[in-house]
């Protein structure tokens, strides 16, 4: 609000409590996790202090390397699909009258709040043999008998698109709703069809928002740990799944920590990229 700087201890006080909490319960855990990633795994207990690069070494193996590549691949693919659909969707949404927008927004928020568990469960049901969509199609005469469409790559991809969609809408919504409605109108008056208007005016003007959304959803998708287990087979297990698996079921916390640190650095790099993009947008305006 102001360009004022805080003077004295009293002024700094409101900030110390949240900063303290965040440092204690976020920075410190990460520091410990970083340290643990160098520790030695102990069977039956959690870990013992050591310094070995074994954990990072294991990580470079073909097995986990493949898991990493698969994670990146499906995350970027899903992000691309989701943004390609959510961007025009949000555009149409923001052109509606406020009163019409509200029920749709409530629905989107409700879907957003659903956890991965419920989404995983819902999709595995929808694509299952006994209880799924294929039954409806049999009933309609489009299929001879019900089919299980899960687990599969397609099922996982659909699930992840579903997961990321509401998130994307909410990221893009502010910029989209602030778009001067007269810009697309001017384009139409000059002879551009609505289709052309969308691609030559709306998308370029909101370019930074679009890029930011792709990156945010990409990072978001990297975090999917349940859907790959429920809708996919072991080859489809992403890095996040392996981290959970190693930490909880293989009791190899140091290794899990190493993978987590790597994933974190990767994510931070991309998030940093979004912030840089956002900052660079401030200049030309």
């Amino acid at each position: 609000m102001t360009t004022e700087r805080p003077h004295g201890l009293m002024a700094h006080l409101p900030m110390l409590w949240p900063a303290g909490m965040l440092v204690l319960f976020f920075v410190v855990p990460f520091g410990i996790m970083l340290a643990v990633s160098f520790f030695h795994q102990v069977q039956g207990a959690f870990f013992e202090p050591a310094f070995e690069l074994d954990n990072y070494g294991r990580f470079v193996s073909a097995f986990f390397g493949r898991a990493l590549l698969f994670s990146l691949w499906i995350s970027i693919l899903s992000a691309a699909i989701v943004v390609a659909v959510a961007f025009p969707f949000t555009y149409f949404l923001t052109r509606l009258r406020r009163r019409a927008q509200v029920p749709i927004l409530v629905f989107i928020l409700a879907v957003l709040s659903l956890s991965e568990v419920i989404i995983g469960f819902s999709w595995s049901t929808l694509l299952s043999r006994n209880a799924g969509l294929s039954n409806v199609m049999v009933w309609l005469g489009m299929l001879p008998r019900p089919v299980a469409w899960t687990p599969s790559f397609g099922a996982l991809l659909m699930g992840m698109c579903y997961l990321g969609f509401p998130y994307t809408v909410l990221i893009v919504y502010p910029a989209m709703s602030r778009l001067d409605p007269e810009l697309p109108e001017a384009s139409r008056m000059l002879g551009a069809s609505p289709f052309r208007t969308f691609f030559t005016i709306v998308v370029p003007v909101l370019k930074t928002s679009l890029m930011g959304a792709v990156i945010m959803v990409f990072v978001f998708n990297l975090g999917a740990f349940l859907l790959p287990q429920v809708l996919g087979r072991p080859p489809h297990w992403t890095l996040s799944v392996h981290i959970t698996d190693q930490a909880v079921f293989q009791s190899n916390i140091p290794f899990a920590a190493a993978m987590a640190i790597f994933l974190m650095l990767f994510s931070l790099a991309f998030i940093g990229l979004t912030l840089v993009l956002g900052a660079s947008r401030e200049a030309p305006r």
């Binding site: 102001t2 819902s122 579903y162 990072v219 994510s267």
Partner: protein, 264 residues
């Protein structure tokens, strides 16, 4: 022409979003203990079961308690931070904001593992306090973003006017700022609350074996056999979220809370 096309497109997308939920709702009404759709012998017995079986009720109690307290704690942390960054200009401002946003933006597995490691080291692994604090930090981002949005939407001239009329810093805060951002405080809390209810991985990693929340119970049930109560929980969560956000929409300006300009 294009009006129809855009409506059709939106309709298809919304159908896609609603699809799994419709199936789950159908499954929850199935009479037998089977995963069937369309439901046979539709009945509400599983809904009754949710509210009768002690282990499900226990899980619900845990979830509600954690959501209640962690959301409040999240707002208590986010509010002073957002206010401080709005009120003053500090060089480390973006670092602080980044710190507040990081827990939620990073893949949850990472944050969950970090908490696991921390609570193990501190000796509080498995306690409900650990879950509450973890959730609070994890969800700090939500009220932080909404409250920041709210503060930024305050017209500076309104504050200046109050100052010229004799209001000191504290008066301005209680009479101008607080009322204006109250809807954002509430929506930030509601957001964190609803997401905490639904949250799985952090709760699981931190105290999953001792403190069973509803999502944890669902996932455990997924592995050990199916019971329609899982579907019931999904439906109840969905309706609850719709209710909370519907209420916010009813009493507030939802588009504005999500970042649109106010209605002119």
């Amino acid at each position: 022409m294009s009006r129809l096309g855009s409506k059709l497109f939106m309709g298809l997308v919304l159908l896609f979003l609603a699809g799994p939920l419709i199936v789950v709702a159908g499954v929850s009404l199935n009479g037998a203990q089977q995963l069937l759709f369309p439901p046979r012998d539709p009945s509400l017995r599983w809904y009754a079961e949710l509210f009768n079986q002690p282990d499900w009720l226990n899980a619900m109690g845990n979830s509600l308690l954690i959501a209640f307290t962690s959301a409040a704690l999240a707002v208590l942390i986010a509010f002073p931070l957002a206010w401080f960054l709005w009120r003053y200009r500090v060089r480390y401002g973006s670092v602080l904001y980044g710190l507040g946003v990081a827990p939620f933006t990073l893949p949850p597995v990472i944050t969950a593992l970090g908490f696991l490691v921390f609570w193990v080291s501190v000796g509080l692994y498995g306690s409900i306090v650990a879950t509450i604090v973890s959730h609070a930090i994890f969800f700090v981002t939500l009220p932080l973003v909404t409250i920041t949005l709210g503060l930024n939407s305050i017209d500076r001239q309104v504050v200046e006017a109050a100052t010229t009329m004799g209001a000191d810093e504290r008066k301005v805060f209680t009479t101008i700022i607080l009322p204006l951002i109250r809807p954002y405080l509430i929506s930030g809390y509601a957001f964190a609350f609803v997401l905490s209810l639904n949250e799985y991985i952090v709760a699981y990693m931190v105290s999953g074996f001792t403190v069973e929340t509803l999502p944890i119970k669902i996932f455990n049930s997924l592995r050990y056999g199916y019971t329609p109560v899982m579907a019931v929980v999904a439906v109840v969560f969905m309706l609850f979220a719709a209710l909370v956000f519907g209420l916010i929409a009813r009493f507030g300006d939802l588009p504005k809370l999500l970042g649109a300009w106010s209605k002119d």
